[in-house]
Symmetry: C2
Subunit: 307 residues, 2 copies
């Protein structure tokens, strides 16, 4: 789509870096998840299936690239990156359940409750959430217990009732609401549902690096802005991509009357808004040197991707 512009060189480098990081994160996940053995093996297999070998691992990449700004040891950053993907994976497994979004397909493969059954999907999601906190709290992740406790606290704030799960609840409530949500309500819904975990991912690199508060806030703000842009891009993709391109069912949101900025603004204004968010995101990186170039390219990539 974006075949011949001058932007392609950094974008190609970004794609390569993301693919390399995703492979490294898969390696970390493989070593941090229970091996597929014993009487519980179906549980362990489902946990691995939900996290390994699929997806762009955007959140993990954010952790790694943010951590790079502060000279964090790669092994530490990879553990935190894997933990974020476990948390994200749990949320997808539970979101796909029949009582929730009832999806049969995820990343082009059967969802966990289709490949196994609902009970195993519930348990695998539960255990992936626990495993994320286990990894963050482990001494191997960082020698300083204050960093470990801080990571656990920040992840819990981002992903629980006041974060991701709260956002999921808002989304369900919106589908049943009689009047459409306004801009502020949609913004809050999406900040909670997907934004907070993306924000955490960028911020976690600064926490790992014991960065000054200001740098930590900048990375969090960067994460929030690209999270919001990502959501709009996702909605545009749902509208325009084929299921093959997206690797999942598309066109469902419009049909379900989902509360999105795209629905409120229309495609043109939504795209302009996403572009403004990307500009804003990059401005939060102004204090960082060229080591942050991948983070800059990522902001651009977020609204140009096709899956």
């Amino acid at each position: 789509m974006d075949g011949s512009t001058g932007q392609d060189v950094p974008m190609e480098a970004l794609r390569r870096a993301m693919a390399e990081a995703a492979a490294e994160v898969d390696g970390a996940l493989d070593s941090l998840l229970p091996a597929e053995e014993g009487e519980e093996r179906a549980l362990f297999a489902a946990m691995r299936y939900a996290t390994l070998g699929g997806g762009k691992k955007l959140r993990a990449f954010l952790v790694l690239e943010a951590a790079r700004q502060f000279g964090v040891a790669r092994a530490s950053a990879l553990r935190v990156a894997a933990a974020v993907e476990m948390l994200h994976g749990y949320s997808l497994v539970h979101d796909d359940l029949p009582a929730m979004d009832d999806d049969d397909l995820r990343r082009g493969k059967p969802t966990v409750h289709k490949a196994w059954d609902e009970a195993i999907a519930i348990l695998a999601g539960d255990a992936l959430q626990t495993q994320a906190f286990l990894v963050l709290a482990s001494p191997e992740t960082h020698a300083d217990p204050a960093v470990r406790a801080d990571l656990c606290l920040a992840l819990a704030l981002a992903s629980g009732a006041q974060g991701m799960v709260g956002g999921q609840m808002l989304d369900m409530a919106a589908e049943k609401a009689t009047s459409p949500l306004d801009e502020g309500q949609i913004g809050r819904l999406q900040l909670l549902k997907t934004g907070r975990l993306i924000e955490f991912s960028a911020e976690a690199g600064a926490v790992l690096g014991r960065a000054p508060d200001r740098a930590r806030q900048d990375l969090a703000a960067y994460g929030r802005a690209i999270g919001a842009a990502f959501q709009i891009a996702d909605d545009l993709l749902d509208l325009t991509a084929t299921p093959e391109e997206a690797g999942k069912a598309t066109g469902k949101d419009a049909g379900a009357g989902k509360a999105t900025l795209l629905g409120l603004y229309g495609p043109e204004r939504a795209r302009a808004h996403a572009e403004a968010l990307v500009t804003q995101a990059k401005r939060h990186l102004d204090d960082l040197d060229e080591r942050a170039d991948h983070l800059r390219s990522l902001a651009d990539h977020v609204i140009r991707r096709r899956n």
Copy 2:
């Protein structure tokens, strides 16, 4: 039932102490759970319903009594006690789901998916788990970040794939197995499914009090032993109590061919085994003074209770 023995004085004191502690823990839960307001209020209401005002709060009591041995501030211990009850509450909400045990009644009230719906039950369980880690990782729980990280790590080990959720998976696999489990398999199943969280509850008091390793190990061993005794007592209760006494459906386990030591041993030998576990549990308290008397009475209580 145990109307006229000399043991009744400490047992009555224990009952009073447990009731007082349960009320205090309810107060802590009330302040640590999101208030029932906003568009997400059904989620918050379900989280509160699943944890507040019901149950014996055995795990919370263990945290509080263990913490008392090491002079831990009551406010700290209460936060950890509340966190354990959130974790336990999440496990009950998910266990009760139609795809799992499919129970309509819990503590004499409709289960969360009956009172609301399945989606809210899934989300409320998810958010209760997160909230437990949030509380443990918060600076208000303990000034020392090493204690907070240690609590998060220990809870994650006790409750995830290598603990409670793994045990739940073993239990499901056992129901489908063609040959019955042996003693060792049943012991492992129950240690994971219920034992580890009870063990954590006793151990957490020692972690909060930065107790020496030896004291921490003693409390963990005490918790493991009463956890195992508790499980046998629970199975005996399921066999003999009426649904009114137990506050939930009874007689289900035998019908479902559940893997229990009671099923393997029969009532008499199972009861003798539970009594041996109680003796063993109390022996792990030998280094503690009379402040541990409630923990000693609790060990006795575990196998004498009627609900």
